[in-house]
Symmetry: C2
Subunit: 365 residues, 2 copies
Amino acid sequence: MLNTFIFPNQSKNNHICLLKLFLVLTPNEVMEDLPGTKQQLESVKHLIADLRDRFEEYLIKQAFKGYPAILEGPTQHIMGLKGKRIRPILLLSTCEMFGGEIEDAMGPASAIEIFHNFSLVHDDIIDNADTRRGAEAVHKKYGLHNAILVGDGMLLHSFIQLSKSRTDNLKDLLRVFNKAASEVIEGEQYDVNFETQDKVSEEEYMLMIKNKTSVLLAASLQLGAIIGNASVEDQQHIYDFGLNLGLAFQIKDDYLDSYGDTSFGKRIGGDILQNKKTFLLITAMNNASRSDLEEIKRLSSEKDEAKKISDMLAIFDRLNVKGKTFSKMEQLYSTSMKSLNKLSIEEEKKSVLKTLAEMIYNRSR
Amino acid sequence: MLNTFIFPNQSKNNHICLLKLFLVLTPNEVMEDLPGTKQQLESVKHLIADLRDRFEEYLIKQAFKGYPAILEGPTQHIMGLKGKRIRPILLLSTCEMFGGEIEDAMGPASAIEIFHNFSLVHDDIIDNADTRRGAEAVHKKYGLHNAILVGDGMLLHSFIQLSKSRTDNLKDLLRVFNKAASEVIEGEQYDVNFETQDKVSEEEYMLMIKNKTSVLLAASLQLGAIIGNASVEDQQHIYDFGLNLGLAFQIKDDYLDSYGDTSFGKRIGGDILQNKKTFLLITAMNNASRSDLEEIKRLSSEKDEAKKISDMLAIFDRLNVKGKTFSKMEQLYSTSMKSLNKLSIEEEKKSVLKTLAEMIYNRSR
């Protein structure tokens, strides 16, 4: 259990834990715009920081006991780059929301985080990425062969961590983890295939981002729910909630890259410059006339960066890509809210989650 | 349970199953030289073939249900090259020897075989091997990125198959499987490091072959024992038995490459030509004078193949490499026999295993 909650008018603050997770997805400026929640949000920030500290301590002191010494260097390199730890925090908080013990969830939480980092090590090889979180990618620093093996060792170790769970829910945890892990690898394979694929349908794109991003977030929520002894129905609802919110979040990422607020100095058009197959580009291509398609193809090798961005945005405008993307996000948000409404937790807790989902949705705007 | 046993004077032939496994390691000529066992051996051969067929059927019809379709091609390629299936046959037979049901062991047996094949896919990348079992290596046929991902998918799928085991022994199965799998990856990393390492100690070499080869054989035996409800002590004895017999077998492989019987047309010296760091070369280097070491170094780039082999064998003779290797095998054999003697199964069954171990040992001579 979390030790110190400084949240007003709450004796039991389980639902706050879930709140925390989504706040990390929400920028300060949006949080601060919400009236009357400033004190709450400060408390929540403390809770996230506390949970992250506890997880980090487990990761350093416990999670790699018995790990092959020969793989330690590159493993510490990638794990030490300290991502936001969104997945384990999601898992731990959901567990607590349903009344489970944080200690019971540390093994599965580290399994999820180690698995996620394994996927980064192998993805960086496949994507020819030189850097990761501002540091050298593992295959750049340690070479291809070491990166393959360390990834294998980490994938394996995620199962070793998961296997430490209590026997009475181990089979369920393995089922959820196995399915998500399998889908992540499947998603990466789709992504590899997209590289050489002329046309990608919206359905294919959605399947890819679902597998590459959303399923692991959704599975984190479900694993936490299992450890917290949630009903099978609630497990499914929280999974669906996470899946659709994750999809909305992913598409929002694409959206903001072209239509984000530039008043904070954020640059627009990075994805366009990289010819990245985003939801926007795929929507454009799937709605383009032959001449638009030829123009898109020509722009992919345009050297003038400012012209490349403005010409592509003009095509997006012509094809109503902004509206179509926005409508997709709205649909995903609505689906995730439906799952949230089905969750058999107290209305009070539900309303917090609703507020949260709204905040994420508003940010997408 | 196996349907038809045609073994004389045996109502319950569980111990025969274990026999079968080791026979696949033993060439026909040795088997046929053993007096009075010809009929027995024919029966055993049938039993192996039957068990392999049943496993193959499971592999084709059951083991890849739910596997990502997008990974199927390369997976079928490597799995379809049909190795000897030694590990699953070991597992299934040991299970039956201890009174377990073959059907309960099919999931773990396929987990071991899929894991083994995953390790081949990634090892072939790391070893720059173009071929595997006479066909193209996965990374040659499908490219590096696909080979990394398919390996990941197979590693993951081995856990999915293992997870299908009965809940009451799942935790034990995972513990044994996790440990072996982790050691296999550790062993491959040792092997990678050896490439750039001038001197390899005997201890390092033994650790590497233990991890790369023996632990998975030993774990196969132990997993079978767990499913057959063997005692913890017997699980350990059968593990140790397999581990040391595996080591003896591995060193024998090195030994025969230089000192094997050439009367059946087998070529001698392949490892020497490849500058492979075998037990023999390592023993030579660790016992060599400075001038011998210089000679060994010079020979590594010798172009005349016949001269390279005969000069290296002369160094081996000078340093008594043959005797030292033989003595190492004898020691490993003796250790494996001690574990066998501790096994709490009927003397009659034990005597069969003893005969088997002797056959393997005689072959090493």
